[in-house]
């Protein structure tokens, strides 16, 4: 069947099977490989995208159930001129990524948090990011990056 959805502001379609997951639809159907798949039990969050503005783990949603909806992926997060958004820039500035594999999901989850709660506490950031696993950073710098993007003084966190 042909499934059509709005992805990063553009209408996009691809042929899929009924069992095709949104993550596969984005990666293989549309060639948007920024959305990563790190597990098969919806635990790691690497595949997080926004559907109609809400964070969704795209490995647990059927592509056909998202037909007609609006999806934002990591490829749609930079500023219009291609420069990094405030949140993306905060991840670079505070070394909030190492291997980069969990990063798209981390950015999408963090963006969803800041949409819901523009000025979270450190505890709220840690709690919100529970659904995303990073194996490289120990989360220290991810938390710092999200707080910095929210405008908080992330230097209050332990040095480095």
């Amino acid at each position: 069947m042909k499934v059509t959805m709005t992805v990063n502001g553009k209408s996009m379609s691809a042929e899929t099977e009924g069992r095709t997951l949104l993550s596969s639809f984005l990666r293989e159907g549309l060639g948007l490989t920024g959305t990563h798949v790190g597990c098969d039990t919806t635990q790691c969050g690497a595949c997080t995208v926004h559907v109609d503005g809400e964070p969704v783990k795209s490995c647990t949603v059927l592509a056909q159930d998202v037909a007609g909806k609006s999806v934002t992926t990591i490829e749609g997060m930079a500023n219009k001129d291609g420069s990094l958004s405030v949140l993306q820039q905060a991840f670079q500035t505070h070394h909030g990524l190492q291997c980069g594999f969990c990063t798209p999901g981390m950015v999408m989850a963090s963006a969803a948090l800041l949409n819901e709660n523009p000025h979270p506490t450190e505890e709220e950031v840690r709690h919100y990011l529970k659904g995303n696993i990073c194996r490289c950073t120990g989360y220290h710098n991810i938390v710092k990056a999200v707080l910095a993007a929210s405008g908080a003084d992330s230097q209050k966190l332990a040095a480095e």
């Binding site: 990666r27 798949v37 098969d40 790691c44 990524l97 291997c99 594999f101 995303n132 220290h140």
Partner: protein, 790 residues
Amino acid sequence: MPKDGGIGESTLRREDIRFLTGKGRYTADISLRGQAHACFLRSEVAHGRINGIDTSAAEEMPGVLCVLTGADFTEVGGNPTGWLVQSRDGATMKEPKRPVLAHGKVRHVGDAYAMVVAETYEQAKDACEAIVADITELPALVDLAAAAADTANRVHEEFDNNVVFDWGWIEENRAAVDAAFASAPHVTTLELVNNRLSPNAMEPRASIGDFDSGTGDYKLYTTSQNPHLTRLLISAFVMGIPENKLTVIAPDVGGGFGSKIYHYGEEAAVLAASKKINRPVKWVCDRSEAFLSDAHGRDHVTKIELATDKEGNFLAVRTETLANMGAYLSNFATCTPTFLHGTLMAGPYKTPHVYVNVKAVITNTVPVDAYRGAGRPEATYSLERVIDKAADELGIDPWEIRRKNFIDPGAFPYTTPVGLVYDTGNYHATMDKLREMSDVAGFEARAEESRKRGKLRGFGLSTWIEACGIAPSNLVGVLGCRVGLYDAATIRVNATGNISVLVGAHSHGQGHETVFAQLIAEKLGVDAKSVEIVHGDTSKIPFGMGTYGSRSLAVCGSAMMKAADKIIDKGKKIAAHMLEAAEGDIEFNDGSFSVAGTDRQKSFAEIAFSAYVPHNYPLETLEPGLEETAFYDPANFTYPAGAYGCEVEVDPETGGVDIVRFTCADDFGNVINPMIVAGQVHGGVAQGIGQALLEGVVYNEDGQLLTGSYMDYAMPRADDLPNIDVDHSCVTPCTHNPLGAKGCGEAGAIGTPPAVVNAVIDALHRAGHSHITHIDMPLTPSRVWSAING
């Protein structure tokens, strides 16, 4: 003068831009024209005899292109271990064959015995379910001691038992160690388990085989920390493909922590299948499959004894370890419990006598191999736990017992009784720094505040040392290593003056593209932005040994420095010609070549351009071009060291442990990019806390893996961890590499587990539970609660 982006600056990582915008290119992101998809059929039993495999129904399934089984690989070789260890009696270890696909027998749950290639992954997966295998289940060997003792039931029947070696280090020390124990005023004994872990890089393994029938060339895209090693193993041991006909490309790699150093059968299988169907064949591992097939780490059962005098001076250390190897010997499985573990058992201490015994046991479990720290976490954990127990028994403060036994700062170079020569170090300095950072004076007030909330606060200390940049080749060769342990770099200065640096190391998150560019910028006096790092493609880079064991900077970075020296030497020749001066009069400073004592000079860019546009060159004495390669084989390991402090709160009602404060004082030698170094420590500490509190691979007695997904294998999440306070100001530069660098990637995973466990035991002791001398990792709430409640 540091250039823009030179040494010592926390330059932001250039690779981040693509990772943050979804433009990273990991193996699974690559789609080749016409590619087919592979799925592996894996054993559901831990141990079984394969009587027959019927693939006929699968071959008729929609989209299926070919089905391969172990029988298709009997004419090729197997995946070898990279290190042959000798037993105490001089016998060479047993080396079981590890075929591409299991043949005759399956030896662990997840052992792949068939492969289906189809038009889509889903079709391949469907067809796997149509394969009918007749497998007679055999008793599973899971328990280490039972497997070691069993000679009737054997994982590999060609051997007479399941112990592949019984290693003693150093055997000549044994009598003196025994004598020291016999006369020692005090002996502390501890039995402990170093729990089996799953590395769990977030990017699952993936491979694409691409055979070109026009040229006979093979290309393998794969998730590798070490592409040349993979090529070497496939060429020389497994498939017999000439090295010059096989290119291995590891693009962006999403973490490895050791698990992607090794060659795996799936890599050979996709190459074979690609040749058979004359199309590219892609395989992407899912997480459940990764738990069953990625090399695990650790898994030791150890008895350690520490002999002291009444004042707590160490007299001797003696250990006996059973090391679980899993069902086959993975590439570096044998050197991990031996040369990376036994040689570190002196720690940072001047213990005069040390003897280490390790028996390596084959079981019906996933093969283990080096995981972040590899052998050094196991050594450090045993030693730092028994020291705390000894301090408790002798009534000596844990800081004090360590301090009095440290090797003195003036004693370097220092030869340990287990065969290492530490070149530099200052263990007192890192511990003093840690003490300052830990606010020891404020502890009692914090503990009192915890008590008011019904919580038990404890402080745990560990000091650690590791041997990084494993080397030199001539020594490791004598000890049984089958490869050289150098690295290589080519510096290609392009005609317009920008620079490509082709390196043998391969980043899987360490930021090489940024840090290596900083090195070259500093050394050649150019802007880091003009330097590009090329890695991960055997068709482009010089033969290198990849990234593991915190070797990239100390070994590959040193190769880069050597190559840069050659570039400068060649540049001086070119400058001498251009400036009509004697070569000996040319100086190189700050990116320009000048005639000593004059203002006549040529910039780096002018020299580069001239090298490629060699008009009026004296061609009989000066070659055109500006490109140099260097191989660097280190004279010794490097020895980073440090001291870690952990403060915990234990909830006596639930047994839950909260890490409330974690502090690290490390000596990594000279630091190139402090921001990246701190990030490496954070990550290592998180994995160390994971091992101490959460993680553990669990098999039942039938060899079924009970922790086979993220639903049941716990790893640290953002709210399991505190902020981590890191210092690396205590610097004793390495004396034998040109950077003075030691390595930082594994430190956190080494120093952390004993600090955490020591902290929990301390909390329990302070609350009056002084009979609890040890709890095995992971210190889950149920284990801690059970210890408290007897």
